[in-house]
């Protein structure tokens, strides 16, 4: 076959399904204990993150010496999707668990690993991702924020923008310019750094979402000095380092379940006896979701097997985010003729409103629709 898109049928192994029951039990207990209530607003919840850490479910695939469990990526998959469905408040540890920890594992010095990784697995520290800038969003390689090597360390100057959760993060994995792009390769010259957000010369300014929520920030670097060993990997070569991380970042359940709660609430809102129109709408949504989940697990299986399914991950993210973005609108239509209050009208309408307001961002964050389709076109041999 000339067009190599591959989605092998993969099923989660028994140990992952056993873990699922354990996770469900834990979430039920924590909800009953009042640690969280599953409402749409998921503020950071240090107590919850600490308890998840105690369970060993942060950095679950990492080496035991760093507090990990050395369990499989498919087990991590299950923990992640159960947390998403329960609307568990994972905000404090989510980014560190998904992508920052793995970056440290791969590129950081032993001293840094021994210092930070155990704190991640205990749910004590949070990370943000410093990629976009005022003049560099989708076009990552236009980043200008500079890192200059001095005798005392790396001197950072510039601004990052749209940095989610920077204001509550202890660390950042940032992308900074260490030299100019070359004639042959405009991607050359960027490097990945670990940033300690408490260092002098680093400040954050809130940039509010339309609904007033504070997630985005502007991060200003004014002669911030990072230790030499905060450079992650090779200087100037960040473009080579990001590929498999992107596959992890793009193919997980969070790329189609972000608004998923709407579907489950809609089912209860419509009730046991849907009319034909409602039944058809539900059936299509479930078929689409089931297919997305199969695709996502297939990518997880490939990652587990040590492959780099970058193209397939981009397919999952584009299909998934477009789907989860449309879901609240589809649900709004399907709910239009429910006249009686099945008992959750207020709750349903609140959840619907919340998800309609967050929907536009889903096809922007972590790679826009346009960027993803460019990657898929490249995979098809068109670029």
């Amino acid at each position: 076959m000339s067009v190599a898109i591959q989605f092998d049928p993969i099923r989660l192994p028994p140990e992952a399904e056993a873990l699922r029951l354990e996770v469900r039990e834990f979430l039920k207990e924590e909800m009953a204990a009042g640690t969280f209530d599953g409402t749409p607003d998921r503020r950071p919840n240090p107590e919850f993150s600490r308890k998840v850490g105690e369970k060993g479910w942060i950095g679950i695939t990492w080496p035991k010496k760093y507090g990990g469990q050395e369990r499989s990526f498919l087990e991590r998959y299950v923990v992640n999707e159960e947390f998403l469905i329960a609307r568990a408040p994972t905000r404090k540890h989510f980014t560190a668990d998904r992508q920052s920890g793995p970056v440290l594992m791969k590129y950081a010095s032993d001293a840094i690993k021994e210092d930070i990784l155990p704190r991640i697995t205990r749910g004590e520290v949070s990370f943000c991702i410093g990629m976009s800038e005022p003049d560099s969003g989708s076009d990552l390689f236009a980043a200008k924020t500079k890192a200059e090597r001095t005798d005392d360390g790396w001197l950072i100057n510039g601004r990052k923008l749209w940095t989610s959760l920077a204001h509550e993060s202890d660390y950042m994995i940032g992308l900074f310019r260490t030299s100019a792009p070359t004639q042959e390769n405009r991607r050359h010259g960027l490097s990945q750094f670990l940033v300690d957000m408490s260092l002098p010369g680093i400040s954050t300014q809130p940039v509010l979402h339309p609904n007033g929520n504070h997630e985005f920030n502007e991060v200003i670097f004014d002669n911030a000095l990072l230790p030499h060993d905060y450079l992650m990997g090779e200087a100037d070569m960040a473009w080579k380092q990001a590929t498999s991380e992107l596959a992890y970042e793009r193919s997980g359940s969070e790329r189609f379940l972000e608004t998923g709660q709407v579907l489950f609430e809609l089912v209860d809102f419509i009730g046991e006896n849907p009319d034909t129109r409602e039944a058809e709408g539900l059936g299509r949504l479930v078929a689409q979701l089931h297919t997305l989940r199969r695709m996502s697990i297939s990518v997880a299986g490939m990652l587990h097997a040590g492959k780099e399914p970058v193209l397939e991950a981009s397919v999952v993210k584009d299909l998934g985010t477009v789907w989860e973005q449309a879901l609240p609108s589809v649900a709004r239509d399907l709910a239009a003729f429910v006249d009686k209050d099945p008992g959750n009208r207020m709750r349903f309408e609140e959840i619907l409103a919340h998800n309609i307001t967050i929907a536009p961002k889903l096809t922007i964050q972590g790679g826009t629709t346009e960027v993803l389709r460019g990657i898929v076109a490249r995979g098809l041999g068109l670029r």
Binding site: M1, S2, V3, I5, F7, D8, P9, R11, E17, R20, E81, I85, L263, F264, E265, L266, V267, D268, I270, G271, E272, N273, P274, T276, E278, A279, E280, G281, L282, G283, R284, V286, A287, Q288, L289, H290, T291, L292, R293, R294, M295, S298, E312, V315, D318, L319, E370, L372, R373, G374, V376, A377, G379, L380, G381, L382, R383
Partner: protein, 355 residues
Amino acid sequence: MDEAQTLVTDAATRIFRDLGDPQTINAAGDDSWREPLWTALEEAGLTSAWVNDELGGAGAGIGSGFAVLRVAGEFAAALPLAETLLAGWLLEMGDIMLPGGAMSVAPMQRGDSITLASDGTLSGTARAVTFAAEVEHLAVLADGPDGPMVALVNAADCNCSAGRNMAGESQNNVDFSGVTPLQSAPARAGIDAQALKLMGAATRSMQMAGALQTILEIAVQYAEERVAFGRPIGKFQAVQHNLARLGEEAAAAIAIASSTAYTIETLEDWTNGGVFLEIASAKIRVGEAAGEGAAIGHQAFGAIGFTKEHILHRFVQRLWSWRDDFDNEAVWAVELGRRVAAKGGEGLWHSLTAA
């Protein structure tokens, strides 16, 4: 894909490439390609992959049979290959010996039921049965006095209406009134009209996935070659994004159809709720991909794709036909939606994770 499936895929691909090339068939003004292609498929055991050797089949297994179907879809095979495979599967479910030759299967459409009376005669009509008027035998799932029966029927004994599907293949309403089957036997436990519909839907889903894959391949190739405004059209971002969408739809179809094949391969009980979720999802999602994929495919080819001389229609018209066989997306969605509603929101998540 395991080793056996890879071997079967390679064998089927070789035969179709040699004897069933869509371009050659499209250009041929007659049916002279049919006989050699069918004979080669039959001799390679590909038409009876789903029947074990004691009953006269090739015993290649469920997974290998689906591998054959995917290749058949990739070549838009204008032969009753899928129907013969499926009929063989149904006959095995009644432990009936394979008669040999081409077959089709009934019923294929919602609401159609066929009855086998205690005097041994059939009654009822099955609508829109593909290839019914061209095959020697029909495998029928009928309601008997004591439960579901599998019957082998001589097609010539039935009253078949004239008719063609959107791809121009014969598709007939079959009246079974008063017909005595050549053989009949009680269906194995769990095999009933619903099981046949599920297996049929899975069959069509895999064929559609194969056809979508080919539409993707020929559209990408065309975009690389066709020059407009001074460069290959595949260099234009608008075209790239359209083809990326086609690639994603093909990927979704391939993923869920392959997953469905795996589910059936490892299935123990056809009445299990997980198999319904899996196959209903496949028929719905692949059917949606078929509609979208056909539209994007045509858009990519422009006017040349909208001609009889171009092969695109062979794939598109079969997608349009296949998505209607064994019930269309809407019918499956309503039934799936009702089941989901009955179990509630939490039940839905539990069903998805248990499937």
